[in-house]
Symmetry: C2
Subunit: 755 residues, 2 copies
Amino acid sequence: MPQTDADPRLLALYPLLYVAWADGSLTDREVGLIRDRFVSAGVPLAVLEPWLDADNPPDSGRLLDLLGAIRRGADGLAPAARSSLAALGASLAEAEGHAPDSRTRTALEELEEILGLDHQETSAALFADSRPLAELRETRPGFDVAAMARWLDGDETAVRMRVRELLSDPRFELAHALPTDLYRERVLQWCRVLADEGLGGLANPASAGGADDPAAFVAVFETLACFDLSLAVKFGVQFGLFGGSVLQLGTEAHHEAYLRDIARLELPGCFAMTETGHGSNVHDIETVATYDPSSNEFEIHTPNRRAWKDYIGNAAVHGRLATVFAQLETGGDRHGVHAFLVPIRGPDGTAAPGVMIEDCGEKLGLNGVDNGRLAFERVRIPRENLLDRFGSVNEDGRYESPIASSGKRFFTMLGTLVGGRVAVGSAAVTAAKVALATAIRYGARRRQFGPPGEPERLLLDYPHHQRRLFPRLAKTYALNFALHDLQRRYADPAEERRRLEAAAAGLKAAATWHATDVIQECREACGGQGYMSVNRLDALKADSDVFTTFEGDNTVLMQLVAKDLLTGFRQGFGESGALGLARFMVERARVAVTERNPIIARRSAEDHLRDPEYHLAIFDARRSDLLYSLARRVRHRVERGVGGFDALVQCQSHALVAARAHVDHEVLAVLVDAERSAPGSSLAESLERLRSLHALSVIEANAAWFLEHGYLDPPKTKAVRDLVTRLCGELRRDAVGLVDAFDIPAGCLPPIATA
Amino acid sequence: MPQTDADPRLLALYPLLYVAWADGSLTDREVGLIRDRFVSAGVPLAVLEPWLDADNPPDSGRLLDLLGAIRRGADGLAPAARSSLAALGASLAEAEGHAPDSRTRTALEELEEILGLDHQETSAALFADSRPLAELRETRPGFDVAAMARWLDGDETAVRMRVRELLSDPRFELAHALPTDLYRERVLQWCRVLADEGLGGLANPASAGGADDPAAFVAVFETLACFDLSLAVKFGVQFGLFGGSVLQLGTEAHHEAYLRDIARLELPGCFAMTETGHGSNVHDIETVATYDPSSNEFEIHTPNRRAWKDYIGNAAVHGRLATVFAQLETGGDRHGVHAFLVPIRGPDGTAAPGVMIEDCGEKLGLNGVDNGRLAFERVRIPRENLLDRFGSVNEDGRYESPIASSGKRFFTMLGTLVGGRVAVGSAAVTAAKVALATAIRYGARRRQFGPPGEPERLLLDYPHHQRRLFPRLAKTYALNFALHDLQRRYADPAEERRRLEAAAAGLKAAATWHATDVIQECREACGGQGYMSVNRLDALKADSDVFTTFEGDNTVLMQLVAKDLLTGFRQGFGESGALGLARFMVERARVAVTERNPIIARRSAEDHLRDPEYHLAIFDARRSDLLYSLARRVRHRVERGVGGFDALVQCQSHALVAARAHVDHEVLAVLVDAERSAPGSSLAESLERLRSLHALSVIEANAAWFLEHGYLDPPKTKAVRDLVTRLCGELRRDAVGLVDAFDIPAGCLPPIATA
């Protein structure tokens, strides 16, 4: 008998409790029903309570204990004693000398009837599984789930727990199929709750009422993403993008004037950078801000239809002020893109004079966010509304900037907005977690097909199902650590900004592509259930889909990563330094190639294949080789007179592969570090398995490249493939525990995930 | 000057017309405006008309002619003459001796103002593209688009054209964001229009008022899929699944009694096979139909919650009769799954006695279809309601069947429903076409980034963008021919059914996975525009998503393909024939392996790499090798005493790869055949390029396998990769023409696709 529930008055209830929970999720109503019946039959509430908490249902370990007790007890019983749950329970209790009284018996019988627990079904649940109990018990995770959860949380456990608690508040109940206007209002209300809790200003300086804690802010965004993603995005638009632009591009006067109201959501606003005609290429946006010294004002103007600000969150309904990016012009000279605060709506909600607003209408997802389009017909704003940290205009119209080069100024300004990419990448990992928790928990209860005459198999016991889900689970762990490492670097003022920007670009792309891939696979792995809105995969899929193309289009971001790797590429080409730089690159890459000699293409013993040093070396080799050949190919073109832009364009696909290889290596390096500093050996073992599975899956996915370049020979390729399959099997036991460690609030998980 | 528009009164209008159309889509209002202005300025309507038809805008060829004329005419003009479209037009016309009158001039100037044609923008459109005109002209497709369209249509051009015409009818206007109840009614109305047009009964026998033309029926479904997919699915549920079950599983009396009303949609109905607990594993559904000889009735009963019929189209609102699949029981014996006609609603829409109906609620997509759940509480139906083609019960309760083996009977019954898979696979190809037409047409007008000082580049001119879209375009062509070939086989009574079923399973899976992949890539390739509902990619993505898991879960279907390849596998294992069969397989595969000796791993000349014989041989080698090794691995397990079920489960991932390789080969074989019987050399050339690109892309995607097995060496792998890139470049010119040849009605294409 399980020790924690040794009260003999429960014995008779065991079969009913096991079947009721194991069958799936009890509704609140059903739980209430069971409780009431037994309490009125005289079973003390305190005895029942631990087994009847709908918010905290017994976990698989407790259910297995129950099942073990039932099976052991039922072993010697006559078939008649198994004919119903009531009979079985009574017999079990009798055998222990605790025969239930007649009231309890009646309650059992009635509940069995009321809950519609069919006999055939229940005996299947209790006895049909032909695997021995010892093997069943093996599905209990081999590590401490709670410790893993805290480890995954990283430095920001406190604020994450606070968000999880908030999300468990009844105010945050997921809404399905709300009409768009109501949905937008609901999301705004949710946002107000978060603002009231002080979460909107976490990144702001203490002088403006904030906590000066950008990492905590990102952690909030990341954790929110397990709930309705419209809320996370609205939160990000208001406090991260709009507030962040004032914080990063403005100076003290702006902070003083606006940050408090923004953080309290008393001043809802927009981040109006993208135009219909220019998304990725911000440099060439066409909105113009012309300084007029006679009035000490800027005139904001939209010259043509392509220059409308587009897809702007908060613009369609709620925003009152917008950070508008425009080409600054003064005295007939242009000084590049700058940000201006432009009022777009009065307090009554009507558009400000000269401001045209359109609603973007329905979107693929995120319909709780009111995206809109903005245009400006020679709208005048005071000179002070220029966010002037990186460039200012004095009364006479003279332009001044602490950064002389306009190119460098442009990239410095954009660079301050790196937090958005850190946040979106982190949120993507959360979305992937919710999908995996759903599919893995469903796969651990859903049966389909089986050998003739035997019970059907659990989906999660099919090796192909494991192969669909477990490498993606392993990569999700890897990205969790990588993004948290990035968050730490983001919050560290000592971190070199350019490296940080490249890392954020690469990880944002990797994480968001991963989320799209994972959610799709999980949707399919849940079959028809995955298609029902109640199971949330639809919203996750639709809402997160834009992640791959907003806050920087992934393809463009990966090109940025590649360019960054080809250090100084942009400046070098077309000038005299071109060849020298390319040659430098070649040398740098060649050294790396030489260094990785110890990788042996033919060694395929398991300890070697699971060795982190091997993983790091082969990942590094791939990245170095690809970078070397990229540099060579670009140089070759430049030498033939191809311009810098075209030279890179012609090697575009190659550059993207090199960038991916680089990001893969960065992610692995963080994962290996995490493993080495694991808090406890069971967690380290668990992570070793995940790291090996992740690394070998990446090697398997890129086997063509490794074979082509002599890093694998065919037998080793096969050994890698076989080991991936084997590791999936090894992971089976831990799978549910590994998604439980994501610590997703119960209200954010759909019915099929709550077993 | 372009000959077709030689009227000199148009000359002055050329620049305005070019810029207006080239800039994007003119709205109806704008077109009307232009027409009215010029007509009232005295330009004859007949001269204007060919240039001002919003439904049939000038194609890129005509626009290029216009641009050529403008550029040639502008060559000698003073800069002032280029200062506005009106000035430029007037100068061009003057130079030809046709100076416009003042009314025309004024109309031009006013329109330029009203349409908001910014000078900078228009001169960019007219003169900034630095490529010579000859090169621009190269973007005109090198083949006859209309002829390609008819070729793609295949045998069923007439009915396809009829559907396209219907879809262009104002009654079929795409609806966005309708509330679910209204949406369901709208889709029902659309369905009624199709029924009134006689399209619902195309597959029915002439004796029941049909056309006896199953291929035409599938072609209708396929063509409908370019419109709202809810309509296609509702159409398929009513006429294909529900009507098809009566047609295929019933006998003459059923046909006589029901088919007419079903085809006219006077009897809306359901196909109630899937249960909550059993989707893929139909064999083990739990609904029971027990014969009661005393009343000459069947009693239909749902024994438990898992046995509810689930995801049933038409069940939530519209269905009145349902084909219910249940375990037939008579005299205490079970005879397996059979189909029964069960009334579920009265004419007033209320549930029939004993029938419980639930609404499945919101879904990821297809919300125009009313999916529901059904359960039966000992519902009695007359004996005649058993669809008794493959099994009947006489008054006394004696069961009789023309097929003695219950296993064979089961598969024969299910096999008759193969049309659903043929249709869904075909519809998936259509959905992929709409997505590609959208992304490719958008990519041909959208510019982003460019070399310093030059106009921005078209997305479609970026090699990576080509690589994202063109191999998918090529595969879409391949699948178009493969699915049409399958449709022909489906309609051919001489076709061996088992082969047909395996082919349908494989192609359904391949086509639906392809659609999911293509639509996702196209969504991302359109950036923010791709996320807006108005651009349809959201609906395409959401609605088609279920295709991969309904009408047979793709993973399960591919296992069916693998099992079919291991002929007799199921029967053989566990019996004495096991080893013999496996050995036979091994021999069969070994022969195939020997036959493909001529494939040379190192030959990499372009003519070889584009040779259809090479493609066929290497595809065949892959399939044969994988099949051989699969047979070997399964045999190995069986020899060690593993049961048949588990032996295959343990090789599941391998089996799936083998099945994919098989389907790849089948698709290629049809494509090569199509190319060989191309109607005309320009179409053949075009298809050669598509076939080469498709085949090489598949080889590239599976390069690891080919390298591992010695079919490619590293230099050849590289040659394949380079040629894929080069072929993408070659295809650039034809790309827009190739999607135009899909002949998608204009109303089904979104704003970003109508350039």
